[in-house]
Amino acid sequence: MSHDLLQMHLKAVISCLVIVLYKVHTTKAGQFFSSGHTNNWAVLVCTSRFWFNYRHVANTLSVYRSVKRLGIPDSHIVLMLADDMACNYRNPKPATVFSHKNMELNVYGDDVEVDYRGYEVTVENFLRVLTGRLPPSTPRSKRLLSDDRSNILIYLTGHGGNGFLKFQDSEEISNMELADAFEQMWQKRRYNELLFIIDTCQGASMYERFYSPNLMALASSQVGEDSLSHQPDLGIGVHLMDKYTFYLLEFLEEVHPASQANMNDLFKVCPQSQCVSTPGHRTDLFQRDPGSVLITDFFGSVRKVEITKDTINLTSPVEPPIKRSGSSDIQIESLTYVDQLPVAEIIHQKPKQKDWHPPDGFILGLWTLILLVFFQTYGIKHLKHIF
């Protein structure tokens, strides 16, 4: 009797342990996919040309530098620079673009890969990159090949105003166009989450009109305020950076791939005492709490490693992530690739039509049986009509 009791106790303890372990495992696994993204992209755009707009190119290159340092490869970065400052005739230090005066930091570096350069940076090209509507001849380096598990960082800088951003001194993009482009991206499942940063005058006006989900936006100044430039370098003769991006760069230099800094820290970058303008942000369209969003979710490309002691069946890739034999505690919904985003909860949509498949073996067999029975009942001479 006590032996049975002992065994029962042991079983209970072991099953408890298993359940506990499993719970721990599954919460870790749940956490594993709770951020939702598997790859990172960055679209960094500088929209102004001419030598006296050196600082805009330096802004973009400093974000490029941070993003590359934190792990996003060139193949996942679309860098658009409207003018070439490093090789401009007026640059006393050719092949360099400095962000700090006294030439402390050369953000041009040795391995810059500019995808859209000079006059290729237009509103049309920018929107086509975002929405993916590019001609078939466009090379891969000029495409944003994101999917619905991509976290995208979009950084814009240049001269702007209330509701628009000036491209190349000849055209403008309005905040409505940008909001519509993001909606197109959402409907085409081209992003999981998107972080939009803009450093121009009256930058907050550019994110006022967003209406697609999973967007977080930061701007360097409110409507009616100007974003100011930071320091001039007397040797080069121009302003090197804008204040907001300068302090953003200083903040990002402290971030390393394993850093746990979150978005609330990013919102605190460059308060009004340093920036003179009031930086703004918008998080109402974002589903997660900004405090739980890591900087590296957007600025870095972090590959997570999961160590498991059990064998995992890898032959059917559409299986649910963790399969524990015999445990039906946590019901993980079996999701197909396209339906991984809980779309129906966010927008109302008609369910997609299933494609027609030719009948498989069982149904064929069933129909043959029915036919044979039919002809047997009504005589074999009717078979002659078929053959």
Binding site: F52, Y89, P92, G237
Partner: protein, 558 residues
């Protein structure tokens, strides 16, 4: 009914016009004068500011340091100049070549219509030497020009030497986006005119020149240097060019900004800026500066070597070093740095200077009056003409307005025939044409018959034709009016201007000296017109003088 189509209202209006005509005219005239003089009052002016975005502020680091070397080079240049008896062409060519410039020369010659007594030349032959510093990385589409004149005697040696020192320093920099042309011109304005005509393939003034072998693209801006002493206490900016044309105000703003950055004393019209604008002396100082600028523009002559560039839409200014024995002295290195800063900022330009004003008056270097503010004064003066014309028209159209004691005299004034009106007009204009053409053409005849030199012949012929136009039958009843008319004639206006100018530059002259100056002004005006295409002499001779003659005719109409 409208204001002008209702006959009653119209009659009332015209009655008002004819009654109040003279008072309104006097008020307008006084208002115009007061407005114009009031422009020099500092609260009515605007502070100068840089309009061109590409030039930005003065945030460059100037590193020019060879001021002393420039001064020793000046002595060398002086020695070679004396040895060559003019422009030391070979030495200059070698000096520029050793500094890494592409050197070319241009020879030119010009025979003046009559000898120039101020500069003692008649048949001018010379050579311009210029070196082009090619931008190391830029295409050869744009250029900047720095020029220094090679003058006889002791003048401008330091300017040429500083030019060469700057050339050497600039050659070592890699941030040039435009080619820089260093030009040393002989015979000041004539040489510059020859070079510009050769560069732009024009021939406006009948100069003979050899074509330019080397070219650099379209010139965006030019600076002319005039330095004649080792020690400089202030820098004077000269803006007035040919026909009163001015460079873009941004060039003056650039100069002033760098003067402030480097702590160099900068003047305009030779006058230093004062701080006490609310005192009488401060106001008169500003008014004097402004009036000097007006007079200099009015005489149509180019007051520096830069003036001829303006015609080709090249913004140019002259920087003149002045040694006025002040306590605070500036050395050549600082001046070199100022020029380096200015040229570096001009290098940043993407387009020609066009953002700031082209028509302005400067009561001081830091304050300006734009055309929108000084044109209304002239508008008020022009309104007087309009009012007078309307008054005459009203009188002509309604002779019955003159009512005497209720009895209207229905007099029909005999309308004058066309011939009687046309004859004075034609004669006045013919006299004007004679005044324009004859002095230069008749100088040989005058020299034969009278014991005068060619220049004096020309001037005296002009005066003779001028007074001959006054020969009209006149009655002594209008003697007072005649005297007033003569005193307001163009010639006397020029005479007054000469005296006023001398007063303003604080070098007043006696009557006889003033008269000699007046004669030389006439000869210089004719020469400027012949050599560079100045328009003041033709304007005076062909337009203003005939108009005044017609007034004279009307005065003595019988």
């Amino acid at each position: 009914m409208g204001l002008l189509s209702d006959p009653n209202r119209r009659k009332a209006l015209t009655g008002l016009l004819t009654r109040l005509n003279t008072p309104i005219c006097i008020v307008c005239y006084l208002a115009g004068i007061v407005w114009f003089m009031g422009l020099a009052f500092e609260p009515f002016t605007l502070r100068t500011y840089m309009s061109e975005n590409a030039m930005g502020s003065t945030m460059v680091e100037e590193r020019f340091s060879s001021g002393e070397r420039a001064l020793s080079l000046a002595k060398e240049f002086d020695a070679h100049k004396r040895k060559a008896g003019g422009m030391p062409v070979e030495w200059l060519v070698k000096a520029m070549q050793s500094r890494g410039l592409e050197v070319f020369t241009q020879s030119f010659s010009r025979k003046l219509p009559f000898p120039d007594e101020n500069k003692e030349r008649y048949m001018v032959r010379g050579t311009n030497v210029y070196g082009i510093l090619r931008a190391p990385r830029a295409p050869r589409t744009e250029a900047l020009v720095i020029t220094a004149p090679c003058s006889p005697g002791n003048t401008n040696n330091q300017a040429v030497a500083l030019l060469l020192a700057l050339a050497q320093y600039f050659r070592n920099q890699i941030y040039w986006a435009k080619d820089i042309i260093f030009l040393v011109n002989e015979h000041d304005l004539i040489g510059t005119q020859a070079w510009l005509e050769g560069y732009h393939h024009t021939n406006i003034t009948g100069m003979e020149y050899s074509p330019l072998q080397g070219r650099a693209g379209s010139i965006q801006a030019a600076l002319s240097l005039e330095l004649s002493s080792d020690v400089i206490t202030s820098l004077d900016l000269v803006l007035e060019g040919l026909n009163g044309q001015l460079p873009n105000l941004d060039l003056a703003n650039l100069f002033y900004a760098f003067c402030q950055k480097l702590g160099v004393l900068c003047t305009i019209q030779g006058k230093l800026q004062r701080n006490d604008w609310d005192t009488a002396e401060g106001y008169t100082h500003a008014a004097q500066t402004m009036m000097l600028m007006v007079l200099k523009q009015a005489c149509g002559r180019s007051w520096g070597d830069h003036g001829l560039f303006l015609r080709y839409h090249i913004e140019a200014a002259s920087v003149r070093g002045i040694n006025s024995f002040r306590h605070y002295k500036t050395d050549a290195t600082t001046i070199g740095r100022l020029l380096e800063g200015m040229v570096r900022k001009l290098n940043n330009l993407l387009e020609r200077l066009h953002q700031s004003y082209f028509f302005y008056l400067l009561p001081s270097l830091s304050r300006f009056v734009s055309i929108g503010y000084y044109m209304p004064a002239f508008g008020l003066l022009a309104v007087i003409l309009l009012l007078r014309a309307l008054d005459l028209w009203v009188h002509l159209g309604a002779p019955a307005l003159a009512a005497v004691d209720g009895v209207t005299e229905a007099e029909q004034p005999s309308s004058p025939g066309v011939l009687t009106v046309l004859t004075p007009v034609v004669i006045s204009h013919l006299t004007g044409v004679a005044l324009y053409l004859l002095p230069v053409h008749l100088q040989e005849m005058a020299v034969e018959h009278f014991p005068v030199s060619e220049t004096e012949a020309v001037v005296l012929t002009a005066i003779a034709i001028y007074t001959a136009g006054l020969a009209l039958p006149h009655n002594t009843q209008r003697a007072l009016y005649a005297v007033v008319m003569v005193l307001l004639s163009p010639a006397f206006t020029i005479l007054y201007c000469v005296f006023i100018y001398q007063e303003l530059i604080e070098a007043p002259v006696s009557v006889s000296e003033g008269w000699m100056l007046f004669l030389s002004v006439i000869s210089q005006g004719i020469l400027d017109h012949a050599l560079y295409g100045s328009l003041v002499y033709p304007l005076l001779a062909l337009f203003i003088y005939p108009c005044w003659l017609m007034f004279w005719n009307i005065l003595f109409w019988n």
